[in-house]
Symmetry: C2
Subunit: 205 residues, 2 copies
DNA sequence: TTAGTTTTATTCCGGGCGGTACAGAAGTGG
DNA sequence: CCACTTCTGTACCGCCCGGAATAAAACTAA
């Protein structure tokens, strides 16, 4: 059955499985993380898992179920900072652990960059490399121009002297990209305007 | 040649092109916006453009070049709020126009949701629907749990009575998703920690 | 040993992908 | 009329996709 649990409570009949479910899931997770869902072919996945396609199909049902299981595994592993944040004693610490955890996880060198819940839908496959080759420099260039404009604002004196144009530009750009993801998740303009209101409270003087 | 410009300075020899380059680009832009780069097949694109594959190939070279041209067109059209923001007189207004413009563009009903510079790399194709069916509820559920935790904080009194847990949760989640995109663009942990520092300044009392 | 069950590797499927060869159609200057 | 150039539709290329059928292999229970 596809629903065979990991535990040892197996019926102990028939040919035993020759691979470890959780280990295989971890390998699949890495592929999904690095290449996104649609960029991860069954061949990519099963090769990384060290098994054949029928084995994967028998164990997990199909590609979508495999992804779901990998996402669960992600939540227990690299994504556990979310749960950890929710357990903090104060709201301020919740926020801090959440954001720091996001940074740490998405930039971890052994990780694949990005968080699976976004990256899984981001097209990071070799197939989409042409798009990345265009979009990543484009986004960075836009951020650079924004920083330049803010540096001028600093010279003009409409930013406090201790303000950091680069930091502010990164902050704004991060919000813009986050807003794009949220909009794709279905948030409406009113909800996102609230986000903007909150964000602008941290704008210097 | 693929580099034939739009202007009327054409050599006026050979069979004239039967479609409008810019209009075709606009149609391609919509497809890329809605489906992402790798989710947009040449058939999807040329069908929307109303031309055959060889015509597209002759006019733009290949899929990547078509995407590049469509992105340029995006920057002049729906994405022009970025340039408009940079022209504002004060830094505060730059920030406000940028963020409001992002919300407006990404949530516009006639638009396709999301910003092309992120959405282009987001997998929104039918092929990736299984992933979206899993990820979108997952992200929203995570945000809901966060809001719930902050509501408890409000009850506990470690948030000011006028704080809005839902708003704060959306704000934090937006930052997390933005951080994921930035990390995928190559920003390192130090740069993103700066973002977190800036963000936490807007945290209530 | 035998029957029953489950996993394994091999092989194949129809279909869609990005990209192209080709021939004909539509325009130009002579 | 002519070559000549360029665009257009059709039909096609090799390749890989997600998935499934098949039969051999490996185990348990009787």
């Amino acid at each position: 059955m596809a629903e065979t649990p990991t535990g040892p409570g197996r019926p102990a009949s028939g040919r035993p499985r020759e691979f470890d479910l959780d280990h295989a899931l971890d390998q699949a997770l890495l592929v999904f993380w690095k290449q996104g869902y649609e960029g991860s072919s069954l061949s990519d996945l099963t090769t990384a898992m060290g098994i054949g396609k029928p084995s994967m199909y028998a164990a997990f049902g199909n590609k979508q179920e495999l992804f779901r299981r990998a996402l669960d595994r992600y939540a227990e592993g690299p994504g556990s900072y979310v749960a950890r944040a929710l357990e903090q004693p104060t709201a301020r610490q919740v926020a801090e652990v959440l954001l720091r955890g996001a940074v740490q996880t998405t930039t971890a060198p052994q990780g694949c960059g990005g968080c699976l819940t976004v990256q899984g839908a981001l097209a990071e496959s070799p197939e989409a490399q042409p798009a990345r080759d265009i979009l990543v420099p484009w986004r960075n260039e836009a951020m650079r121009r924004l920083a330049e404009r803010l540096r001028r604002a600093l010279d003009d004196g409409d930013l406090p002297p201790d303000a950091d144009p680069d930091r502010l530009a990164r902050y704004l750009a991060t919000l813009v990209f986050g807003i794009a993801v949220q909009a794709a998740s279905g948030l409406d303009a009113g909800e996102l305007d609230d986000v903007v209101d909150t964000a602008l409270q941290s704008w210097p003087a």
